[in-house]
């Protein structure tokens, strides 16, 4: 016992201060693909480069879209490709706080300007963040600033699950922020879902959600939960949580790093601002 105590004193506090202090990402971190304005349109990789069909638009189109909900963050679209060895017009961002409260906010749009150069298309002006605000207001009013979540593995590869486990471990310790994962849906304010919702789990997913008292929220974590990810939509996969449950927050990534998930949970609580104000 004494030895354990001394070891703890020696090792000190390892817990991150995120979100009070920003989290650092390493140099090789692969964030969201973003267009580099002013590069020739031909330097944009074709949709076929993407293994999860996150890039859409054809070779003659003058606009292209990257769906971060489908993105595996593999970085292949940002690598030089044979048709344009000088380098892709996409680069990988450093931002990991990518969670949103509306699915379409995960679409990165770009177009060709009159000179045939890449330009980012600003997201359509949000007339209001009605939906997201409604959710956070409702949650805020009912739950205060803490959240008890029931984890639902809806067919994940377990990477997202392990990152949720990490959130409760000493380095992240989500409980310091009033966030906990609970054993029973009856004790939960919502569900945090990983995986694309497999056919074999759909019934269990619905039943677990139904067992959560209202008002309840749904946080979709990872590419599979956001869109089906690499599993897509098939005989075995529904192709994303929103095909089965009403999703309030989408957390892209494959898997999202622990702080990215924490950001998504805090976004659900209205304690941090998301894209376009949230």
């Amino acid at each position: 016992m004494l030895r354990v105590l001394l070891q703890g004193l020696r090792d000190g506090i390892v817990t991150s201060r995120y979100p009070a202090e920003p989290a650092q990402v390493p140099a090789r971190f692969r964030g969201a693909p973003q267009p580099e304005a002013g590069r020739p349109w031909a330097a944009l990789p074709l949709p076929s480069v993407c293994p999860s069909e996150a890039i859409s638009g054809g070779p003659n189109d003058t606009d292209r879209t990257i769906d971060l909900g489908k993105c595996l963050f593999c970085g292949r679209c940002a690598e030089p490709f044979p048709a344009h060895p000088a380098g892709s017009a996409l680069r990988l961002g450093r931002d990991f706080e990518l969670s949103v409260t509306r699915r379409e906010q995960l679409l990165v749009r770009m177009g060709a300007d009159s000179g045939g150069l890449v330009s980012a298309i600003d997201p359509p002006a949000m007339t209001s963040e009605a939906l997201g605000e409604q959710v956070t207001r409702r949650i805020g009013a009912t739950l205060g600033r803490s959240l008890a979540l029931r984890h639902l593995d809806a067919g994940s590869c377990n990477a997202c699950d392990w990152e949720l486990v990490a959130l409760l471990a000493p380095h992240y310790d989500a409980r310091r922020l009033g966030i906990d994962f609970v054993a029973s849906p009856r004790h939960a304010d919502g569900v945090i879902v990983t995986g694309p919702v497999t056919r074999n789990l759909e019934l269990a997913v619905r039943r677990t959600f139904e067992a959560v008292p209202e008002p309840r929220i749904v946080i979709a974590v990872g590419a599979c939960a956001c869109s089906g990810g690499i599993a897509g939509q098939s005989y075995a996969s529904a192709g994303g949580v929103d095909r089965v449950l009403p999703v309030d927050v989408w957390v892209p990534g494959c898997p999202p790093r622990p702080e990215a998930i924490l950001f998504g949970i805090l976004l659900a609580l209205g304690r941090v601002g998301g894209k376009g104000g949230g």
Partner: protein
């Protein structure tokens, strides 16, 4: 390789024995790899006898089973391939050999004789084949579906080539799944899952017990079946690699590596030594972060939270290093077809320092656990898997070695750098008790060995290129077969190119797939509240079992 002494199996011995029995009912060729043997049986009736000779007389075991729909392909009809590997005598190096036995199951109402009555480890393989391809294993003792759950329409088989993966499949009303029942006075059932109380993957466990004593445990898995083998079909190999890496988070490197090694065989490409070396580096990093985390998780099964936290801290340090080295905490994207993505030479001293410090932390954690009698008492004699059962079920990895089965794919089917001169030698730890404590000790020794291997690998990185060019299209119909030692044991991947050089069929037998049937057996020596402990001492993945 030591081949002295009697009864070491070899291609020659196999040919002599099988050839004598079958004479002209046998066609022999080499492959998939150069040293491998493929035996094509003219009649599937001969299959049980061939399997008996290979397993009982020649000490081989069933490594994997691959069924394909070739009604419009090269073989005609449905083909079934049984892949065997040497497993005995233990305690010495066995030849790196796979013997594939091929039979045709016919085109209409396909069937083959079941091997399950003879080889318990064929049980799941054959039920999976019946579900996904509609090939009936005649004489299989268990008629229940495995992969396709309640409400799946009969007669619909998703791995058949004429099944469109986007088919919307109706859900029929279905009776309750027939779990194996134990009846008698005082016997009751405890259903657990598929959604569990913790952050755990989904599976359903049906305990039949009297008081706290477990009489029988029926485990039902495949809840996370995502159809990934079907998903890979028709894909460009680079895209299929993204699927392979996502079969499982915890085994991302092992699956990615097994896929590219099979792919490189198909393409006929040799990977340069430096790339092979670096592949071994990430393979051991994966083993290290999993093992230290899994030792922590075992403590969670015994409600010893200091151990859980200590293990989680060590795991997090390695995963942060993973992200620094490769941009992903699960090391995804580093192993690529033909080599590795980038060099790690500049980070060698940083990795060396980190793993050394993690090794020290692990030693302290273990000392803390072993000093605690109330913890050790929970593990000793809990969840016993006997050597005989481990052999019969073809158990692999930590679970096998803790039950005295001397197998490790790094030695038995060398991959990455493990067959290169100058690569540090892998040390295997064997225990014979087969209980949770043995699995803890084997896992801990293996993690410590990984630290040594990483330091040895990094100190001697050979010079040279990091990758070779891959052909844009694969040679049609060529097959690749690989076995990679993941943190859970040997994962065996089978791959074939189609007529257009894309993926025709991709089959994965993960280590967890081989080991899951052992868990309900081991649970019989435990009480119900110890089941989490037994389960965590095996620490198996559901995702790469279910695919």
């Amino acid at each position: 390789m030591a081949c002295d002494g009697p009864s070491i199996v070899s291609s020659e011995v196999v040919l002599e024995r099988i050839g004598a029995t079958l004479a002209d009912r046998l066609a022999v060729s080499t492959g998939p790899r150069e040293a491998d043997l493929t035996l094509r049986l003219a009649r599937s009736d001969d299959l049980p006898e061939v399997a008996r000779v290979l397993c009982e007389d020649l000490g081989m075991g069933l490594a994997t089973l691959v069924a394909t729909d070739e009604r419009a392909g090269p073989g005609g009809g449905f083909q079934v391939r049984y892949v065997f590997e040497p497993t005995r005598p233990e305690g010495r190096a066995l030849p790196d050999l796979f013997v594939t036995v091929e039979v045709c199951a016919g085109a209409e109402a396909p069937s083959v004789p079941s091997l399950a009555p003879l080889l318990p480890c064929a049980d799941w393989h054959e039920r999976e084949m019946r579900d996904l391809l509609g090939i009936v294993p005649v004489g299989h003792p268990d008629p229940r579906p495995l992969v396709l759950h309640d409400g799946w329409p009969p007669g619909l088989h998703p791995l058949r080539k004429d099944f469109d993966p986007r088919t919307v499949v109706p859900r029929l009303t279905a009776p309750e799944f027939p779990h194996l029942r134990v009846e008698g006075e005082g016997v009751f059932e405890i259903p657990v899952g598929p959604i569990h109380a913790g952050i755990i993957e989904p599976g359903h466990f049906r305990f039949s017990s009297v008081g706290e004593t477990v009489l029988h445990l029926d485990a039902r898995l495949f809840y996370t079946h995502r159809g990934l083998e079907k998903r890979a079909e028709g894909l460009h190999p680079d895209d299929a690699l993204c699927v392979a890496e996502r079969l499982c988070g915890a085994c991302s490197v092992a699956h990615g590596l097994a896929f590219v090694e099979a792919l490189e065989q198909v393409a006929g490409v040799g990977v340069p030594p430096r790339a092979r070396w670096l592949r071994s580096v990430v393979l051991e990093l994966e083993r290290l972060y999993n093992h230290v985390g899994d030792i922590g998780n075992l403590c969670a099964g015994a409600a010893y939270h200091w151990g859980t936290s200590a293990g989680a801290r060590l795991k997090e340090r390695v995963q942060r290093e993973n992200e620094r080295l490769t941009g992903n905490r699960f090391l995804r994207g580093y192993v690529i077809a033909g080599g590795v993505h980038h060099d790690l030479a500049d980070e060698a001293s940083e990795i060396d320092a980190l793993v050394q410090s993690v090794g020290t932390g692990l030693a302290e954690l273990l000392a803390g656990l072993e000093r605690n009698p109330s913890f050790v008492d929970r593990l000793d004699g809990t969840g016993v898997l006997t050597t005989a059962a481990a052999r019969d079920l073809g158990v692999t990895g930590v679970a096998a070695r803790a039950s005295g089965v001397d197998r490790d794919a790094r030695r038995d089917h060398p991959h990455a750098a493990w067959h290169l001169a100058g690569a540090p030698p892998v040390h295997l730890t064997l225990k014979s008790a087969g209980d949770a404590h043995s699995r803890l000790k084997v896992r801990a020794d293996e993690a410590a060995d990984s630290v040594g291997l990483l330091r040895g690998l990094l100190a001697n990185l050979p010079p040279g290129p990091l990758r070779v060019a891959m052909p844009d299209e694969l040679p049609p119909w060529r097959v690749g077969l690989s076995s990679v030692e993941s943190p859970r044991g040997a994962s065996i991947h089978w791959l074939r190119a189609d007529a257009h050089g894309r993926i025709d069929r991709y089959h994965v037998r993960s280590a967890s797939y081989a080991n899951w049937p052992a868990v309900p057996l081991a649970a019989l020596s435990a009480i119900v509240p110890d089941f989490p402990l037994v389960n965590k001492s095996f620490e198996l993945c559901y995702a790469c079992t279910d695919r």
